[in-house]
Amino acid sequence: MGKVAIAILCALAAGCSGGTAPQALSADDAAFQQKLQEQFLDAKPGSVIEIPVGRHALDRVLTLRANGVTIRGLGSDKSILSFKNEISGPEGMLVYASDFTIEHLAIEDSKGDGLKVNDGENITIRDVRVEWTGGPKTTNGAYGIYPVKSKNVLIEDSASIGASDAGIYVGQSQNVIVRRNHAEKNVAGIEIENTINADVYENTATGNTGGILVFNMPNLPQPGQATRVFNNKSVDNNLANFAAKGAAVASVPAGSGVVVNSNPKVEIFDNDIAGNHTANLIIASYFSTNYYNTRGVDPKYDPYPRAIFVYGNRFKGGGDSPDGLELKTLKTAMFGINGHFPDVLWDGYVDSKSLVNGLPPPAERICVQNGDAEVLNADGPNKYKNPKVDKASFQCELPKLAAVELPHS
């Protein structure tokens, strides 16, 4: 009896402390991992580490610290590094290096981020697929492809599927191009955060909670600005938000096509944005995230989206079934059960100290010159009391941002 009880307790305890025990690698996989780890340790400028065809099981993060290294597979559907049984990580691959290229391979089922590049310069990520193969789950790793604090970053022809936070997440970086990628079944498909000078184009974001996000978070040394989002398809991003509460993207309503939050100088043009049930485009301040508090947020942090320029996008459908009780109620009250929000949803927070004759200074306005597209001012500061649809107030223009040029692309 006692023994049985103890066995049950042990089983329960094991369950609580992280689920099933990790499976040991096969002898072949263990040998492969050891050789690959040695290649990562011995890599020097000019080294090319080749990943052969096959699904290779690894149980430990691959860390690279040497500059000038290329990691190359034979295709993102052929050369696969699987971290399903990872015991030590949490990333799949962790890179602290510059002049780094990774291409033609896949990273699957890492416990944490798929590929994280921290503090690098001249980074190329090409035809890399990061995927959590069990579909969207809160227990999936947070970020798929995650360059952070990096400079001159190119992410192209890559994919992220199933990240429990953001699929392609560029944080605190400078000079970034994200193009021709595919983001699906993540909470946020593509997220540009606290980054200066980013071009996001020709990507497809579909089936995420939110398609393409441009955010500024507080307390970080670098506030972001100057992002161009153009020629993308952000379609049917209606996946229920499966991020853990408190995560940066947990506040994104399901059905968001493109979201700008607290970030200045964002230019959104020539995109196909369609079928996103909350709104095709959301422009919001940090106050709408529920994370604002005076003690924990740097008073120097600017929580407002300023200088947002929206034009030439092809909006279609969407706004017909917003996520969350407040937005649902608002939609039904204003547009009826069968109606829909306009294409652009703005939370209505403005920096009242900056207003000139009731409007932000010309250089800081939100300008929507996009054919018939209307803006709903949700009147967030007054708890959605006096929302109104408007178009005329947003007829303005802003200087266009320069294209990002990378020295290595």
Partner: protein
């Protein structure tokens, strides 16, 4: 078929004999002087001659000085024998805040071991003791400083940090089952073990020996220089007494006397972290000492976790950068559904203890160096957060 089985048995028997022969050699070897390798990666720990088998003891070579930290890093309840050695006539320069400036040739070793579990059948079982009691770890009498009593402990790994002309390098060595030698394991290792508490409860876990790059994961505290550096050899960690064979003495004073350290401040005025287990010391000082040594090597203004704006070093002001009411930046699912790193008075709503409690890669903090939960460490941090005042008002 039968023949091949037979030949493999012969090979195994031969292997055993050879291993025994080597073990005997190891057992009865007299110590050579410590060997500083200016380059390369010696295949065996014994090549360095820092610690060596002397009968039933893991002995410390001449000039090899053991040390302890006021509050150590948690490593799955492993006990640690830390040593330092410097070439004759050289010494480290004191620094009040950072690691001392050590001369080329300095060799630091850290041997991770466990006392054997009470009543465990033999050392070949995976059972090791989960205890803070170190009273049976050391050899009884010593020429030089006391080593480890091998009858009472199981050696897991010894990490070498060596200061070469180009900077520090980290080399992990893993002890063999016979406990006669530790061999270089650049790509790390994983060992199934079972922690047995003083009360008899058992917790199986995988002890993970880091690979060389993972060593750098903690020992590169400045992402710009990318230089590996020791963590423990700072004034605030070392400023305490040690039971040397010559008697108890403050470690900073002892190092000064030996000529291993110059310019040290008087211990009474030198920085000193609290002992996290000493309940006679202020709760805040104990918690901050714990966070400093367990988290501060990444969570500092220049470290790999500076992407998070969370500073857990002893120097951080007790505000949002220490996590008070701070929304997480890139915690992902590590939030555990909580909104702020630390909510004063409410540890159960705080991300910090949630991540410390977790054993799941992707959630757990620190990210490496443990696979079990430091129950007593989590309790300390929870107690500390519980005592913090104020609220995180979310009003705009």
């Amino acid at each position: 078929m039968q023949r091949s089985v037979g030949s493999s048995q012969v090979a195994r028997a031969c292997g055993l004999v050879c291993a025994c022969a080597l073990a005997l050699v190891a057992c009865f070897r007299t110590a050579q002087p410590v060997h500083f390798f200016a380059e390369g990666r010696p295949a065996k720990l014994s090549d360095w001659q820092i610690v060596y088998r002397d009968g039933g003891t893991l002995a410390l070579n001449e000039g090899v000085v053991p040390y302890d930290l006021n509050t150590p890093l948690f490593s799955d309840y492993a006990h640690k024998l830390r040593t330092i050695w410097m070439p004759r006539g050289t010494s480290a320069k004191y620094d009040a805040d950072g690691s001392f400036d050590f001369p080329v040739g300095t060799i630091i070793s850290k041997t991770f071991y466990y006392p054997l579990a009470k009543g465990a059948a033999a050392r070949d079982s995976n059972a090791v003791a989960r205890t803070y009691d170190q009273s049976t770890d050391f050899s009884d009498k010593a020429q030089g400083e006391r080593g480890l009593k091998l009858a009472n402990v199981r050696l897991i790994e010894t990490r070498i940090l060596v200061r070469r002309a180009g900077g520090w390098e980290a080399l992990p060595y893993v002890w063999n089952p016979a406990q006669t030698e530790a061999v270089l394991a650049r790509t790390g290792d994983a060992k199934p073990l079972e922690l047995v508490s003083d009360e008899g409860s058992k917790e199986p876990f995988t002890y993970v020996v880091p690979n060389e790059n993972q060593c750098a994961g903690c020992h590169v505290a400045d992402l710009k220089t990318k230089q590996i550096a020791p963590i423990g050899t700072k004034a605030r960690h070392l400023n305490r007494e040690y039971a040397y064979s010559s008697g108890n003495e403050n470690q900073l004073l002892h190092w000064m006397k030996l000529g291993y350290l110059t310019g040290a401040a008087d211990p009474a005025s030198a920085p000193k972290n609290a002992d996290w287990r000493d309940v006679a010391q202020p709760l805040d000082a104990r918690a901050r000492a714990y966070l400093d040594v367990n988290c501060g090597h990444c969570h500092n203004a220049k470290g790999p976790a500076n992407t998070t704006a969370l500073d857990l070093t002893i120097f951080a002001a007790p505000d949002r950068y220490l996590g008070v009411c701070k929304p997480p930046v890139a915690a992902g699912r590590g939030t555990g559904d909580h909104f702020f790193d630390i909510v004063p008075g409410t540890p159960q709503d705080s991300i910090l203890p949630y991540r410390m409690r977790s054993n799941e890669p992707g959630v757990m903090m620190p990210e490496q160096g443990r696979t079990t939960t430091h129950v007593e460490g989590v309790a300390l941090i929870e107690q500390w957060i519980f005592a913090l005042r104020g609220t995180c008002d979310t009003a705009t």
